[in-house]
Symmetry: C2
Subunit: 213 residues, 2 copies
């Protein structure tokens, strides 16, 4: 069976987005800074149609996750880029444009039913009956690869609290956001974590945990 | 001039204490688990009058901080073990007993004026006129060593937001508390951090940051 993985950038004070997200600034004020470490990497630039980029230990962490990913699950706001018109418009392509960077099937958790949206390299499938059916569908297409939770925070929290998450990798950026959306909020304190790997550079520290059942 | 250091254990979800602290459980429900990694170390056991203990990389991280510390600043609740009778009783010795483990002068931030309390190896001095006067007094006795913020979270936050903190070391325990007291809350997002060292073991990951001015 495939594993369910969450893998996300977080500020040292625990935020995955800044306050006051908009369509233009879907990660909120200051939130883009969380991802500065990744924008310069070859493994991130290639699927976004950009040439060049650094090849280093951070790059290998990202490349490793991309290689292992067979399907993605995301929340409706990550699809639509916030609570703008794309969230409920059944004809919208969402925030990601005609050529999304995922390269694998994406399952969007939403309350708004709509037909699948096939785009170049990705089909977005909209799942309205909850996190377990979305996980079942994602597992079915992932083959022997992993299912990757793209975000946001509440999606990670739901899968963690429901006992479905196998691995959590947090990329801790050396910065404070002060306010915004916290990744690890309202979690069940009986969940057990086991640290399995730490990779560090001045730009970012990758903390990987296995969720112990 | 001495540096001002904060050095504290935190759960992956950002808590330095669990909910519902009491005199018997001053770190709140589940909060003791944050410190399991340190209780077994030689460098922690010796100042607490306990023999034996592990000597390893975690131990050296703790020993290094203890060697460098010339004075400690703490909040009144850390002195009194919560908001019990020791907080305001001018005759109390506080939570730490007759033989506190600090080995250097301790300055307690409080609104309750009282005379200094000399105990074995430590004198507690009570400072009622704010964080800067407490820092000045601590620096004066620290010599060429560091001033160490013992906690709690709000004391760390006040010194960070006021621009006085030089170094923050967070010992991330592989656990979730779900609720309680967050270390990094309400901080100024313009504060810049620079990662200076990561030391990791299965028990704990030590993330050290310099605060950039």
């Amino acid at each position: 069976m495939t594993r369910l993985i969450a893998d996300i950038s977080m500020s040292l004070d625990g935020y995955v987005a800044g306050p006051n997200a908009t369509l233009e600034e879907p990660l909120g004020e200051g939130g883009e800074r969380l991802h500065e470490w990744i924008f310069k990497l070859e493994s991130w630039r290639a699927p976004h149609g950009l040439e060049g980029g650094e090849i280093n230990a951070n790059d290998e962490v990202v490349a490793e996750t991309l290689r292992a990913t067979g399907a993605v699950i995301m929340g409706r706001r990550m699809f639509s880029g916030g609570s703008g018109p794309w969230e409920t418009d059944p004809n919208s392509r969402g925030w990601w444009g005609d050529n999304p960077p995922f390269g694998v099937p994406v399952f969007v958790l939403t309350h708004h039913s709509r037909d699948p949206l096939p785009l170049e390299g990705t089909t977005f499938t909209f799942v309205t009956d909850g996190i377990e059916p979305a996980l079942d569908q994602a597992r079915a297409v992932a083959g022997d690869k992993d299912v990757f939770i793209g975000g946001g925070a509440s999606v990670v929290q739901q899968y963690l609290n429901a006992g479905h998450l196998d691995e959590l990798q947090v990329h801790v950026a050396p910065m404070l956001l002060g306010s915004g959306v916290r990744l690890l909020d309202g979690l069940d304190p009986t969940i057990r974590l086991e640290g399995t790997r730490v990779i560090s550079s001045p730009d970012v520290t990758h903390l990987r945990y296995q969720v112990v059942r």
